[in-house]
Every structure is written in structure tokens, then in C-alpha cells.
Amino acid sequence: MTDVSKPANAEHAQPIVRIEQVTKTFGNVYAVDDVSLNIYPGEFFSLLGSSGCGKSTLLRMLAGFETPTHGRIYLDGQDVTDLPPYERPLNIMLQSYALFPHMTVEDNIAFGLKMEKMPKAERDERVREMLALVQIEKFAKRKPHQLSGGQRQRVALARSLAKHPKILLLDEPLGALDKKLREQTQFELVNIQERLGITFIVVTHDQEEAMTMSSRIALMRDGRIEQVDAPRRLYEYPESRFAAEFIGSINLIDGHVVKQEDDQVWVQSEQIDGLLQVRHSQPLVNDMAVTVAVRPEKIQVVPALSQGSNTVQGVIKEIAYLGDVSIYHVELPSGKRVMFTQSNIQALAEQPMTWNDSVTLTWQPNACGILVK
């Protein structure tokens, strides 16, 4: 397996953010529990997890709003663990945007520049540049309460970018926007990040958002990092049940190892009443309990008489029409349910399959994976 602690294109780069065994406790609660992480220049790095997983606390420690209980944080090689926020060479865009309500849009953007005593002419130029970057020139003289949610988000982004930080932290940057605006803004964020060449570290609970924007994702759970990987690898090769279930939907089939040859493993499962063949290179012990994971879109419908491994039969119990695809829920004789998707290629085509149809499903050994955690 490749080294997932580094992105594929950064084999020799030095990390710009180095988090070393950081723990943060509030009373008895471990908000962040022994986390180590390297983030490299130019990455669009996401901290993904459900609420309370510690992702925001980790971000706040990077910003300097919280101090780690144990461990060190290095930015660009410098130990910043004990530096106050106003001395750290990074900026943050807060979830609430935290725009200064008594200042105009311009003044909000110029705030950080005034703090570093940038000469007025240069400052005005920079503010103009930022207004143009996020396309809010028209609203320069307005106060935050006179803006829409989307406009406010842009002001917040412009303000946090105004000082040209090397690293930008974003706490749920799209959380307050409605769905349509969110999708549109995702790409804009990525564009801006690529254009400016800044390292983005984003906290989000939305796996789709993380998948769309990130170069790498750290999936967090209970204060710990579950898996760090590129979105594609995280999706295709989840290392744990948790990771598999968190990203997208997946079928999980429990069983035990009966045979391993080269990179092929055979798993006997009572849930499907048969054998599963999976490509898996790590050595496993016979009789070991494992879970086979297969994504719904990797499953094919085959003629009823098909035989062999990775083949199951069942009855369609539910159909969910999502527009682009339909999701079918198939109940196996054991009672186990398996989901598969079919794209709706033809508009209003008569359903080839419908409720209570018997179907036979199959998938390739290299289209599924084995989870040991």
C-alpha cells in the first residue's frame, strides 16, 4: 500500500503543518486524543467527521484559540503551540463568519491589514483586489446586516484572505448556505485555493463537500483520526467499517476467512449463504471474522441462472428513484438486505425491474474490499 500520510504529489515536500501527538481534554472529556498529522503546502485538506468528533477543536488549536493539553503544533517548521492567535502566520474563516457588525465590508476586509500597519495606498489596493476576488465590489460600503448570507460568506472569505496567509483555516465554510449555493461555492473555493496557491484546511461534517473539494481528507471519530487519504482512496478503500459507512452508502457482509491464495481471499458468509471472493493483499488468518464491503454501484444484475462466487439472489423490496439513479433494496433469503444502483439512462423508460421481482446480483472480486477493523 502507498504511504497515505503524504499526498501523492508531495513525496519529497516538507509539511507546512505538523501536528504531533496532540491531545486536548475538557475536564474528563478527550476532545482530541493523540492526533498526529502532516499537511503539505498547497493541499486542500479536510477534517471530516460528525459533530463532537474533535475536528473543530483541532482547528481551533491550529488557530490558537485553544492550547493543546499535550503535544506540539508546528507551522512552517516553527513551534507555535504556545503562540497566541494574533502571532500565528495563518488566518481562519469562522463558521459564524464573525463579521464586525459596526464596520463596512471594506473596513472588515482592511482590518487585518490595519493591524499589520500596511500603508494606506497598498491597503486600499489589497482591499480592491479582495473585493474583486470574491465579486462583492458593489457592496463595499454596506454593513454586514445589509447583506445576504452568501454575500456575508464572501466577505468573510475576503477578510481572511486579505493578509495573504500561507495557510487558511475554514470552519464549516459552507454550513450556513442553502444547498444550491453550497454546490456553486464549493467550486469557487477550490478555484480560489488553486489560484492563490494557499494551503486550505477545512472542517466539515458534509462528506460530499469534503469529497468534492479536498485533495486529502482526515476522517475523525471520537477525537481520533480514523483514516487519512485522498477522497477517491477513502471511498474505494475504506480501512474500517466506520470509514466505509461514513462516506457514501455501502453493503457490509459479515463472514470469516476460509482460504487465501496470492491476493485473493475467500470468505464464507451465512448472510448470503455462500462464498465471497475478494482481492486483498494483506495476509489474513483462516477463520478470522471479517466484513466484506461492496459499494451499491459496483453490483450488476445478471441472468437468473448465473452461478459462482459473489453471486446472490433475492427479491426487490424497495426502490428509491433519485433522478440520475435508482437505488434498489434486495432482500436475501437470510433476511440480509443488499443495495444496488442502476442509472436511469432512458427517460420514462418502463421499469425493467419492479417490486417483488427476483433478481440475481454479482460483483467482481476487485470491486469489493475486506474490512478488519
Partner: protein, 316 residues
């Protein structure tokens, strides 16, 4: 003439009685107006009326506005002499300036002392806030007059402060505090401090912490954060607090009378003198009317300025 009829109709709808019959909601909105009319406007009109009449030793001690000359012929007599006197006699101007000075200095001092207290309470752990606020409000459970009286015992020459300092050997001669301007300021600030702390607390507690985090992140040091974020955003509380001190202190009578020396010439005391010693109700009323106008003008200007600023932002 349909336009005229329309406006007449609208007018009718605005009358409280009509509003009551037609729409309950208007009635609710009308209540504060009714209250203001009954307890502010009407009394003020009485004061205004008396201020325009002439003092006379009678019951009541001023001449009626409308007098009968003979056989049912009436005449309306308006006397501006009281107002003329107010502007001619430097005594009143001095008293007014003194009052403004004392009120302004007290307001400033009360804000300087009250702000950190309000800030500390707002920043205190949740469980502490209510008890701390209670401690601020607690003195209200004792009569205002008694509390001010108590200061005499504390400040006088052989009072608590002087006796303590002298027994500690820090001073040989008692400090002259009672019956000096210092005593007035102590009394005023002591009495009005809760009125500063409460509105400031209400503003500060609503202040979003993330604003300070954002400022810190943008390179703003704590002291500067206070100046650029906390202070401007607590301005509504500061203005409310300032008005709650400045306005009543302008007319303050009890504290300067009890704690202040004879030099404490304030408008409230002058009103007392005109009313009781000179039995000149009209002049006292004129003084009250002028004071009210002087207090209302800055308030109206401020409101006007606020609204205009708001509209300007909207227009752009």
C-alpha cells in the same frame, strides 16, 4: 374632495377610540402613547402653563391663565417674564453649567468604574453571573435616602474613613471630604453605578466571542481588540448608561444637598429654592421646562443621527 375625505377617514382611524373599536392591535400600540400622554405630556403641559403665569401670594400661588375682566369678557394673559429672567440672571446660567459639569463628570466616572465591573460580570463563569448581579442590585432594597445618609457617617471629619486613617497613623488631620464636590461625586457614583452596570452588562453579555477570535486571528492584540471591537459594539449600552446617569443627575437634589457643601449650586436645588423659599411656582416651572428641553435636545439629535446613518448605509 375625495382626498380630503380620505385623510379625514385616516385621522378618524388614528383616534384611540376608533382604533379600539376597529382593531385591537392598534389599541395595544396605543397603550404606551396613552401612558405617555397621561403621565408625561399632560403634567408637562401643566408645568408649561404655570411657567407662563405670574407669581402671586394666593391659593394657588399664581394667577390664572384666562381671567375675567368684566361681565363675562375673558382675556388670556401669557407672561414670558419668567423665561426672560432665566436668561438674564447669570445665577441660572451658572447653576445650569454647574449641573452640566457635575452630571458630565459623574457620568464619565461612573462609566469608567462601571464598565470594568459590567465586563467582569459578563465574563464571569455562568454560575457566578446571577449572584454578582444580585450584589449590584442588593442596595436597592434599602431606601435611597438612608444610603445617602450613611455616607455622611462614612465621610465626615470624625467618620469612618478619617477615624480609620488617623488610627492607622496615615494622616494627622482629618481629610475634608464631606461637604466638598468630592463627596457629591462619591454619592452620585455610588447611587447611580447600578444604572451603569446593568445596561452595560446587557450589551456585553450579548457580544459574540467569535468576533474577538476573528480579530485576534487577524493580528489584533487583546487591548486593541477591546478598543476596536468590544468598545464600539458596547456603544448602545454606554449611551443608555450615560443617559440613565446624566439625565437624573442634571436634576439631582438630594445628593448635593446632603453631601455637598454650600458651593454646590445645581439646578435642582435652585428649583427647590424658587418653589419653597421664594414661593415662585411660575419661575420654578419655567426652570423645569427649560431643563426638560435641554435634556431632550441631545437625545433627539442622537436619534436623528442614528437613523440617518442607517439610511445612508441602506441607500448605497
Amino acid at each position: 374632495m375625495s382626498g380630503g375625505q380620505m385623510s379625514a377617514l385616516k385621522l378618524a382611524q388614528r383616534l384611540p377610540g376608533a382604533a379600539f373599536l376597529s382593531n385591537g392591535r392598534h389599541w395595544i400600540i396605543g397603550l404606551p402613547w396613552l401612558w405617555l400622554t397621561l403621565f408625561f405630556l399632560l403634567p408637562f403641559l401643566f408645568v408649561l402653563k404655570i411657567s407662563l403665569s405670574e407669581a402671586v401670594l394666593a391659593q394657588p400661588p399664581y394667577l390664572p391663565f384666562i381671567r375675567e375682566i368684566e361681565d363675562g369678557a375673558m382675556t388670556l394673559v401669557v407672561n414670558f417674564g419668567n423665561y426672560m429672567l432665566l436668561f438674564e440672571d447669570p445665577l441660572y446660567r451658572t447653576a445650569l453649567l454647574n449641573s452640566v459639569e457635575i452630571a458630565a463628570i459623574s457620568t464619565l466616572l461612573a462609566l469608567i468604574i462601571g464598565y470594568p465591573m459590567a465586563y467582569a460580570i459578563a465574563r464571569a463563569p455562568q454560575a457566578w453571573r446571577l449572584p454578582l448581579l444580585m450584589l449590584i442590585i442588593l442596595p436597592f432594597w434599602t431606601s435611597f435616602l438612608i444610603r445617602v445618609y450613611a455616607w455622611i457617617g462614612i465621610l465626615k471629619n470624625n467618620g469612618l474613613i478619617n477615624n480609620t486613617l488617623m488610627s492607622l497613623g496615615l494622616i494627622d488631620q482629618p481629610l475634608e471630604i464631606l461637604y466638598t464636590p468630592t463627596a457629591i461625586y462619591i454619592g452620585i457614583i455610588y447611587s447611580y453605578l447600578p444604572f451603569v452596570i446593568l445596561p452595560l452588562y446587557a450589551t456585553l453579555i450579548r457580544l459574540d466571542d467569535s468576533l474577538l477570535e476573528a480579530a485576534a486571528d487577524l493580528g489584533c492584540r487583546p487591548w486593541k481588540q477591546f478598543l476596536t471591537i468590544t468598545l464600539p459594539l458596547s456603544m448602545p449600552g454606554i449611551i443608555a448608561a450615560a443617559m440613565l446617569v446624566f439625565i437624573p443627575v442634571m436634576g439631582e437634589f438630594v445628593i448635593p444637598d446632603l453631601l455637598g457643601g454650600p458651593n454646590a449650586l445645581m439646578i435642582g436645588k435652585l428649583m427647590w429654592t424658587e418653589f419653597f423659599n421664594n414661593k415662585d411656582w411660575p419661575l420654578a416651572s419655567a426652570l423645569a421646562a427649560v431643563l426638560l428641553v435641554l435634556l431632550i435636545i441631545p437625545f433627539v439629535l442622537w436619534r436623528h443621527y442614528e437613523q440617518r446613518q442607517e439610511q445612508q448605509g441602506e441607500a448605497r
